[in-house]
Assembly symmetry: C2
């Protein structure tokens, strides 16, 4: 019995998230369909996280156990041929029996892309938030700083969360500009339902003067969702990296 780790990359637009659902097409179900053809039976797969409907992934990890002795390169090539154009297998490898894509994961990085212009860029259509208001990143950086660290992020997650423990650590929260493209990068040990989209929405409200840094600190302290910004659309969000060992630099930040 081998334990196989698949690293996927997908354009999430056409899918109702990563997780299998009763009445909507998901990324996992689509991958399982392709696997069933290649392996001759439907395997149970464990995903690293539950990405929302419409969210993209530069990297998404899943593992499954199989009796098949199909070589890894053949599995990868077959899956890539069978999967639709918007899902790809980047990598396929054998991992120790106790590896679990979700429980072995120590953290994740998300990226949120903002096409910050009133011009139209077809390359970012459906792949970034189109936001024309001028963005002052210098004004956002101190807000990013107070969001970093260990906090109870209940005020920054959807009321629909099923988590009872809402304490998470953000190791990195950064905004960058390259021309008209603004990228928000967050790394943390875990993320609550809609958390990244609410963090970015909060930054945009600070940008627009609807919130100031004091109010963000209060939203964090009082764990009050109604004090934080709006949830920005899924189309700009990418699961960017899944960490199975702690990246260099995280410990230093954790000590803050």
């Amino acid at each position: 019995m081998r334990n196989i780790l698949l690293t996927l990359c997908y354009i999430g637009t056409a899918y109702h998230g990563s997780q299998v659902q009763a009445n909507a097409r998901s990324v996992t179900e689509t991958v399982q369909d392709a696997m069933e053809i290649v392996l001759g039976r439907r395997e149970d797969v464990k995903g690293c996280s539950r990405t929302d409907s419409g969210v993209h992934a530069n990297r998404f990890c899943m593992n499954f156990y199989t009796q098949s002795d199909l070589p890894l390169y053949a599995l990868k090539r077959s899956l890539n041929a069978l999967l639709p154009e918007d899902i790809g297998v980047l990598d396929c490898r054998e991992v120790p029996a106790d590896f679990h894509a979700r429980y072995s994961c120590v953290g994740k990085r998300y990226r949120y892309l903002i096409w910050n212009s009133d011009g139209k860029n077809p390359f970012y259509k459906g792949r970034a938030l189109e936001y024309w208001r001028p963005m002052d990143l210098e004004k956002l950086r101190p807000v990013c700083e107070i969001l970093c660290g260990t906090h109870d992020f209940r005020g920054f997650c959807s009321a629909k969360t099923d988590q009872t423990n809402t304490v998470r650590t953000l190791y990195r929260c950064e905004v960058r500009r390259q021309g008209d493209l603004v990228t928000c990068i967050v790394e943390g040990d875990g993320f609550l339902y809609n958390m990244v989209r609410i963090l970015v929405g909060t930054l945009l409200w600070v940008n627009e003067g609807k919130l100031d840094i004091g109010q963000v600190a209060r939203a964090l302290k009082e764990q009050n969702r109604s004090l934080a910004g709006a949830t920005v659309p899924a189309c700009g969000l990418y699961l960017d990296e899944v960490f199975y060992t702690r990246p260099v630099g995280w410990d230093a930040i954790c000590e803050n």
Copy 2:
């Protein structure tokens, strides 16, 4: 009479290049169709260059004269609403009467994207060359260096060229890697028919050991197309920048 400069961005996959053609859909014709609706008459437009069928543009400039006094923001918004999803107007401005998108241009930058992995990345499908052989950029850099400067590039252009003067200056020829994405960046005062695609094809042949640096130098010196590499597909090529003033740094390279 105003002279208007439009800066476009487009995904070239669906178009037979930028230039109007008798029997195939082009980017220019598509823009003229939208302009005709907004301005009430079909205007003649001058494009900065003739991009090939399937080539993309991060920036493509065109200018036209108009009697219309429609505000520029209204022109931009209307065109963006009328244009298909794969063409966008990034910028729209008035320029001096003697400005010509092609003749005022002093140089251009192209990017060629290579998805250098045997994994499948849906984000680069149709937007990069998929090339799985390992690439040794250190081996390619000296080749990039000898291609820089002023040369007769007859050996690096399609036999179908209509140019009699095939001398061009390359100010920059660079290869970079970011993870599995390799980018070739070239800047020059002008480019011949298929020149960038043959330059990149030559680098790939050097990578594969089909050519060495001495043979590339000979192809350049003898102006012999059959000594250079293959023409790589259009899907990886982007017109990236159009220069109307000489960028800082170009003069230093020119003195070499």
